[in-house]
Symmetry: C2
Subunit: 311 residues, 2 copies
């Protein structure tokens, strides 16, 4: 049996043990637990980056540490929550240098300090061959307000923050998790569904559509294409068209979310007042018919391009 | 710079970012957070097992999954807490078989079901060479009741559960985490300090002594030596004396704890009523003078034998 990463996770996590503390289990950006905090629920998340898959020695240890934590924070942002504390698990090749690990920790700690996140422990173990960095996170979200993947409804407007594609040029290491933006959205607007973009817009949007039992139509000219994706598209014969890069490149770590169509203008207006330097684009609409379509000058077509898949 | 596992962790986790939610940070069995639950605090723990370090292919995948979770549960037991939910992170070699991962999950899920622990998500990523299994756990402990490593006082009686040494023969995979016992101890007795034995009695006891700023004297004939340690001591010239095995073999996952001397008899009596099949031994006393000593027929000697160190 050979499965993709997503199929494998879905297969292994089907029908997992639950209990009455679980509000959201496997399959969203974070798990949500009700531990009895009066006005809040608890977010729980882990995320691992591995040498040779998510970074190389050339990435620099400080940036690797920063990225490992930032990925987790991005998941918290996508639920509309705030991070409280993290644990760091390192799998170390035998020849690891303490100086490199200090640098790695410097990256984690700098970002943790920026967002008031406590680092409450570290574990190290041997791991033959590759540096393995896993971050575990506990966060909080206002009770009943966590943004899920499953709430998109036909007619909703689809929004995305930032500009997409070409993160491999450096943004996949240095991106700023949209914590403030995610919490603000959930506090001030009725967000039907939200997730962060880690595997490419087209692939990640399909996760929301599947979880919500709907389809969508994107508007090609509304999709915010990054400068990097445009530049890379001009590099020669083998280069990816810029729009395709924006649709399928991984690790954008922007927020993708849906609101009722009647709220769309209010969201855009208030966003521009609150986050004037962060682009927000309305890129399409949710439809009842399953599938993902894209509209451009030549009409509407099924979008077959898959998101970037790590594994 | 070349550091042992403990020195490395201590070095990397010195002066970590904290915030007002942190009750216990790095350096105990679990971190303890105050997230605003009325009568409880939150326990937070991760623990990783790696092929070739903590298990081999011959261990069997179900037992490996079970062990990975049981180690985390043992840490919760050592704080006197109860586990609520876990996340599973798998680093997979390229040639991993889905059937093996199902078995691994079966081991995790069986133990989770036994203790009412929710499995709220799974992540998989590539990891060249070795299977890497990390468990992240959230638990709860009655407010102000978490057993620390730092509370041992001169004059305290030192207790240990079970029988020690020789876990390599199978107990390191199949041990039962002492969850019920740990919670019962903290609920019914004034436990000054507690931890679970993962690196050997002598080494782990030193962690408590260091954290508490005290020393100890053990009574050699009171140390409960396992049948496996005794049997292995008779295997030939290179074999470890049984007492040394009980002092230094790793992965016993028994509870080591201290209570005031005046409470010792009451603890033993009520334990025997509550857990008649689980041995509990008073193995020595805490002393003001630093260092770890052992008393046998020949008198009192400094105990130089170090605990088992993984890394």
């Amino acid at each position: 049996m050979k499965l993709s990463e997503f199929e494998l996770i879905e297969h292994l996590t089907r029908g997992l043990e639950s209990n009455d503390r679980v509000v959201v289990g496997s399959g969203d950006d974070c798990a949500v637990l009700d531990l009895g905090v009066a006005d809040r629920e608890v977010l729980f998340k882990t995320d691992a980056v591995v040498e040779g898959v998510h970074f190389t020695r050339e990435s620099g240890f400080e940036r690797v540490g920063r990225k490992a934590l930032a990925r987790c924070l991005s998941d918290v942002a996508a639920m509309g929550g705030q991070p409280s504390a993290v644990l760091v698990t390192l799998g170390l090749p035998k020849q690891s240098r303490v100086e490199d690990l200090e640098e790695l920790y410097r990256g984690i700690r700098g970002l943790a300090a920026r967002y008031g996140v406590a680092v409450v422990g570290g574990e190290t173990t041997l791991n033959a061959g590759a540096l393995f960095v896993s971050i575990s996170l506990i966060g909080l979200v206002p009770r009943g307000k966590a943004a899920r993947r499953s709430g998109a409804r036909a007619g909703d407007a689809i929004f995305v923050t930032g500009r997409l594609g070409g993160s491999i040029e450096g943004r996949h290491l240095d991106f700023e998790p949209r914590l403030e933006e995610g919490a603000w959205l959930c506090a001030n607007h009725s967000i039907h569904a939200m997730m962060d973009l880690s595997d490419g817009l087209a692939g990640d949007l399909r996760h929301i559509l599947k979880a919500s039992g709907v389809g969508a139509e994107l508007l090609a000219r509304a999709i915010p294409v990054s400068r990097e994706a445009r530049r890379r598209s001009t590099l020669g014969d083998g280069s990816k068209p810029a729009l395709l890069a924006a649709l399928t490149d991984g690790e954008d770590f922007e927020l993708l979310f849906m609101v009722a169509a009647r709220d769309a203008v209010a969201v855009l207006d208030s966003w521009r007042g609150r986050f004037p330097t962060v682009p927000l684009s309305c890129i399409g609409r949710v439809e009842a018919a399953a599938g993902l379509r894209i509209r451009d000058g030549r009409g509407v077509r099924e979008l077959s391009a898959h998101g970037h898949v790590h594994f």
